[in-house]
């Protein structure tokens, strides 16, 4: 049977990270499952965890009056949800909803921050990983702003 540590070390987010460092997070973590349509968290709530998605798809959405729930992005297995847990005031910026059955490892944010403070190597390594996620999503958001599929020439 796989331990939480096994699940974390096998996850693409931690690929290439010293296994000893990853296993330091084991005591902060637990396995969680969400049903189709279930909310992982809501906008404005305390961002109290990092969710390491093992299976399924999560939609990040926001309620827009008159338009309902608008999905701004999706996160699939192999990725992580949330960086609000490490940026004050530690509150979620969007809703997160399971659009399939979702299995994840939930890493407690307070425990995670404490461990990062106590072990700068772990902290720096994790910050690098999170920065990569943020960088990719920022670039993707900028590309979407270009609306590249809109017809921009005549013929």
């Amino acid at each position: 049977m796989q331990t939480i540590g096994d699940l974390l070390t096998a996850h693409p987010f931690f690929e290439g990270v010293d296994e000893r460092l990853v296993r330091e997070l084991e005591r902060c973590s637990r396995n969680v499952h969400y049903r189709l349509g279930e909310y992982l968290f809501h906008e404005g709530e305390s961002a109290d965890r990092l969710l390491v998605i093992r299976r399924g798809r999560v939609a990040l959405d926001v309620h827009v009056p008159g338009r309902g729930e608008v999905v701004v992005s999706t996160v699939d297995a192999g990725e992580v949800v949330g960086w609000s847990w490490f940026v004050p005031p530690y509150t979620w910026f969007f809703d997160a909803r399971a659009v399939t059955e979702v299995s994840a490892v939930s890493v407690d944010a307070t425990c995670l921050r404490d461990r990062c403070d106590a072990d700068p190597v772990l902290g720096y390594t994790l910050m690098q990983r999170i920065a990569q996620v943020m960088y990719r999503r920022l670039q993707a958001a900028r590309l979407r702003m270009l609306d590249v599929y809109e017809a921009d020439h005549g013929g």
């Binding site: 992005s73 999706t74 659009v99 993707a140 979407r144 609306d147 590249v148 921009d152 005549g154 013929g155």
Partner: protein, 291 residues
């Protein structure tokens, strides 16, 4: 064994127009299907009853008589040279006229022109196809050709980005390719609606998760040029050598035979040297403004 493709894409077999390449050949519209609010797929047959053999990735100059002529990639099955299929998006005067055709109308066709995807170069390895928007149309013949010879290829992935769910092209066919031919099909949209349960985001985000062996992969990319630049970066970051990443470059093709120079891209004439280029041949040019 993976085919050596250092020489760049092939010129498609049997894909040179017969007769005067500047003279349009009349084709009758046989069938028309509306794909999206602004995109139409039409099937044409030569009025003279002849075939129009083509290689996947080639284009024709399609003429609405009395309106004008535009380059349109062929989106049909290369194994059916008697049926010329084009998918046209209404983006201007000529394409608006083309999108308004009905069965029985006659259009002028010159071509086929240009160099195709060179699908056979992917034999023995994996194939990853990355399309954005209407860019799926020029790639459709390549996918059809790969699937016609499915056993000679490894893993086949199709990564497709569209603006919204209602603008996803060939939806039913995408499902058949996934279910019946073992293609890893991933579709993402920039803007979702409540009916959409798939991915939301740009197509570049699909590249890191796609399964292929970079050193044995042929990548075919078509879409808006800015999208292709970033997709090419993502593919080479995954380790695919630039000469095995191929892009279909769109420029202002007019004559189709390298005479007029309208489609010049530095040392290349896109209508004869392209439209499909290996990344290492055009990467520098794609980064130059106003070129």
């Amino acid at each position: 064994m993976v085919a050596d493709v250092t020489a760049g894409p092939e010129t498609g077999t049997g894909a040179t127009p017969a007769g005067d390449p500047l003279l349009p050949r009349p084709f009758r519209v046989v069938a028309v299907r509306r794909d999206t609010h602004d995109t139409v797929t039409m099937e044409l047959a030569a009025v003279d009853g002849g075939d129009l053999p083509f290689a996947p990735g080639q284009f024709t100059m399609l003429q609405a008589f009395g309106v004008g002529e535009v380059p349109i990639s062929i989106s049909g099955d290369p194994a059916r040279p008697g049926a010329l299929t084009h998918t046209v998006r209404d983006v201007g005067g000529v394409t608006r006229a083309l999108c308004a055709v009905t069965p029985g109308d006659v259009l002028g066709v010159r071509g086929p022109f240009g160099r195709g995807w060179g699908v056979a170069d992917g034999t023995g390895g994996d194939v990853v196809v990355v399309a954005g928007g209407i860019g799926l149309a020029p790639l459709r013949p390549a996918v059809v050709a790969v699937l016609a010879d499915r056993d000679t290829f490894g893993r086949v992935s199709l990564l497709y980005g569209a603006r919204s769910p209602s603008e996803v092209l060939f939806g039913g066919e995408l499902e058949r390719w996934a279910a019946g031919h073992g293609v890893d099909v991933e579709v993402t949209v920039d803007q979702a609606d409540p009916t959409w349960g798939g991915r939301v985001g740009v197509v570049t985000e699909l590249v890191p998760g796609a399964r292929f062996d970079p050193q044995r992969t042929l990548a075919l990319v078509c879409g808006p040029e800015v999208m292709m630049r970033y997709v090419a970066d993502a593919l080479t970051t995954r380790g695919i050598p630039p000469h095995r990443v191929r892009l279909s470059v769109e420029r202002n093709m007019r004559c189709g035979v390298g005479l007029c120079g309208h489609c010049q891209l530095r040392e290349h004439l896109v209508c004869v040297d392209g439209p499909v280029f290996a990344l290492d041949r055009v990467r520098r040019q794609l980064a130059v403004r106003e070129l």
